[in-house]
């Protein structure tokens, strides 16, 4: 009986194909919007998480901030060593410093950034070297002129068909030898391209580009078995002590927990998703009202048919089921079309905004069921009205 009713509903929809499409447009757009936004949202989240994990999942980033007296007191290597040696649970502490510079090779030039750090800094941030080797101990200790290329710099000024390893290049007025290429890192925080960089030993950059021993920031990687808050408290305590801050003086430095950054980004994504949900709900509500409207029209148009069915012995609930099925099938078809559109749109848009396409079966199933559910909600009143018609009046209806 239900199978026959569904076939009947499909036939009725096919009879008014244009009307059916127009009617379900609201649902199609609503479902497509939800599927697209959630899929893209997942893609953004995935790429952000990849980014975060490239910073290191359980890391602190510590940098000095301007005090209310207007001064900045930078950290130096002694602070980094103290943190590494005196705080339990800290695996790596490594400083970073950078400067803007132009890279030259073989008559080509490229404005980029030179970053100073150690192998330990690369480890803490989970950056690996795809080609070549890391710094040697003596290169780090003596601050030699060797460098690792970010992918962007390699592509910008080195010929694509031959290895840059061993090449002599120039950064600013410092000549240096290329010893390796770093693997792709992608977009960093604040829109900076983490691949647009030349990485050199910390001491080299401090001495040749900055002319002092200061650090811009340092990264602390800790053992995940330790509570982040405990490590953070010891870290803050130690640094306050070293910087001779009195009890009521505010910190003149900042400690960022990458896990918290992750959470904050999650919250932003959540807010965006909620906004999309609201917009989609309105679209679906309008779509649902459209369904109800067209079902009422259909009931009126088919009053005589309803009369015939009642006269030959259809029960009220059978007539109701027939129209309800029609509304549900209509909405479910709209849902399917919406999912297909959303699928296509998310593949296209994911490619456009360069985030991974993350297929989420759940949102597709939920959207479909929601669309079908709309058929029940908005089809019930018209169907119920059909089932309550008086057979004698219905048969007389012109």
């Amino acid at each position: 009986m239900l199978g026959t009713t569904i076939l009947l509903a499909l036939r009725e929809i096919r009879r008014h194909i244009l009307r059916s499409i127009l009617t379900t447009l609201g649902i199609i757009i609503g479902v497509a919007a939800v599927v697209t936004m959630v899929t893209l949202g997942n893609g953004v989240t995935a790429s952000v998480q990849e980014e975060i994990s490239s910073l290191g999942a359980s890391n602190f980033i510590i940098f000095p901030v301007r005090t209310n007296r207007g001064t900045i007191r930078p950290f130096d290597e002694a602070d980094v060593r103290a943190v590494e040696q005196q705080i339990a649970g800290v695996q790596i502490a490594a400083g970073s410093v950078s400067a803007n510079a132009t890279a030259y090779f073989n008559g080509q030039d490229w404005d980029t950034k030179v970053e100073g750090g150690t192998n330990a800094l690369l480890d803490a941030q989970s950056i690996s070297i795809s080609d070549g080797r890391p710094f040697a101990r003596d290169e780090e200790a003596a601050g030699k002129s060797v460098c690792l290329l970010g992918l962007k710099v390699r592509e910008a000024i080195f010929p694509p068909d031959s290895s840059p390893i061993g090449a002599q290049m120039r950064i600013g007025d410092v000549a240096c030898q290329v010893i390796g290429v770093m693997e792709e890192r992608g977009q960093g925080g604040g829109g900076a391209d983490d691949d647009d960089v030349v990485f050199m030993p910390l001491k080299t950059v401090q001495r040749r580009f900055r002319g002092n021993d200061n650090l811009d920031y340092f990264v602390v990687k800790y053992d995940a078995a330790y509570a982040a808050s405990v490590i953070q408290d010891s870290l803050v305590g130690l640094l306050r002590e070293r910087r001779l801050l009195q009890g009521d003086e505010p910190n003149d430095f900042n400690v960022i927990d990458t896990a918290q950054v992750n959470q904050a980004l999650g919250a932003v994504t959540g807010a965006l998703t909620a906004m999309v949900a609201v917009i989609a709900s309105i679209s679906l509500l309008v779509g649902g009202i459209g369904i109800m409207n067209i079902m009422l029209v259909s009931v009126t148009e088919r009053t005589r048919e309803i009369g015939i069915r009642l006269a030959i012995g259809a029960l009220a609930r059978e007539v109701r089921l027939q129209f309800l099925t029609e509304a549900v099938v209509l909405c479910a078809l709209g849902g399917l079309v919406g999912i297909a559109l959303g699928f296509a749109a998310s593949i296209g848009l994911a490619a456009l905004i360069e985030v991974p396409f993350v297929f989420d079966p759940m949102i597709n199933i939920v959207s479909f069921l929601f669309a079908a559910g709309m058929g029940i909600v908005f089809g019930y009143y018209p169907a119920s009205r059909a089932s309550k018609l008086d057979p004698i009046d219905a048969l007389r209806h012109e």
């Binding site: 009986m1 026959t4 009879r15 005589r304 048919e305 009369g307 015939i308 069915r309 009642l310 006269a311 030959i312 012995g313 259809a314 029960l315 009220a316 609930r317 059978e318 057979p391 004698i392 048969l395």
Partner: protein
């Protein structure tokens, strides 16, 4: 004598209420036996259509007792009357009332759909019914592709397909020319001869002459019942 198939006792029907109330039936008594072919006649407003609606279990009397197969129909609810129609009654209307854009075969199958019969059973029974009205070659045609007489025969097949006890025909020839009308009446008479009870409303004496009994209504009451052997073809009673 056994209990009649249909028995109306003191049936009244009032439409509306208060000052606007209109009493369409004022106390109708009527008994119809199994195997009858009854023509119900009367001028407009005489109550014949209201009586037909009550006999078809589509409407309930305001007062009185309507027994069908011994069951007091006026006590049944809407769905119970639907089930009664589904099981025991077949309807033929003046306007044919076939589902448009639906083939003759599917139209005839429709009542069996509500009985929950399988597709094979439906198809076989519908083809049998179409055979009874001589329309097997037209099974795949939609109403728009059939003549009025053919449409009415499809409607009769649809009424027959459930093998009902009673066939109710409301002005079955009202939309047909006289030649088609006589074909339909002969078909009804043949079906009646095969055992089905037929109740027919008509205002044409020529058609009523095919019935075994004529019940004449006037002003909401049964005016006269004329019983006798059916007249010969086409001649008025």
């Amino acid at each position: 004598m056994a209990e009649p198939l249909i028995q109306l006792e003191g049936i009244t029907k009032t439409f509306g209420s208060g000052a606007a109330a209109f009493q369409a039936l004022k106390g109708v008594d009527l008994a119809i036996d199994r195997g009858e072919f009854v023509a119900i006649m009367g001028p407009s407003g005489s109550g014949k259509s209201t009586t037909m609606n009550i006999l078809g279990c589509l409407d309930v009397p305001t007062d009185g007792v309507f027994r069908f197969r011994g069951v007091e129909v006026q006590k049944l609810d809407r769905d119970q009357r639907s089930l009664l129609r589904r099981r025991y009654l077949g309807f033929v209307f003046q306007g044919f009332n076939l589902l448009a854009r639906t083939t003759a075969l599917e139209n005839v199958e429709l009542p069996l759909l509500y009985r929950g019969e399988s597709k094979a059973v439906r198809r076989a029974a519908a083809m049998r019914a179409l055979d009874q009205v001589g329309l097997v070659p037209w099974a795949d045609h939609t109403p728009a592709e059939l003549s009025g007489g053919q449409q009415q025969r499809v409607a009769i097949a649809r009424a027959l397909v459930t093998e009902p006890d009673v066939l109710l025909a409301d002005e079955p020839t009202g939309n047909l020319d006289s030649e088609r009308s006589i074909e339909i009446m002969e078909l009804l008479r043949r079906l009646n001869a095969d055992g089905i009870t037929i109740l027919m409303v008509t205002h044409e004496e020529e058609m009523a002459a095919f019935a075994k009994t004529i019940v004449r209504f006037r002003d909401g009451l049964v005016e006269r019942i004329e019983r006798g052997a059916p007249a010969t073809e086409g001649s008025p009673a």
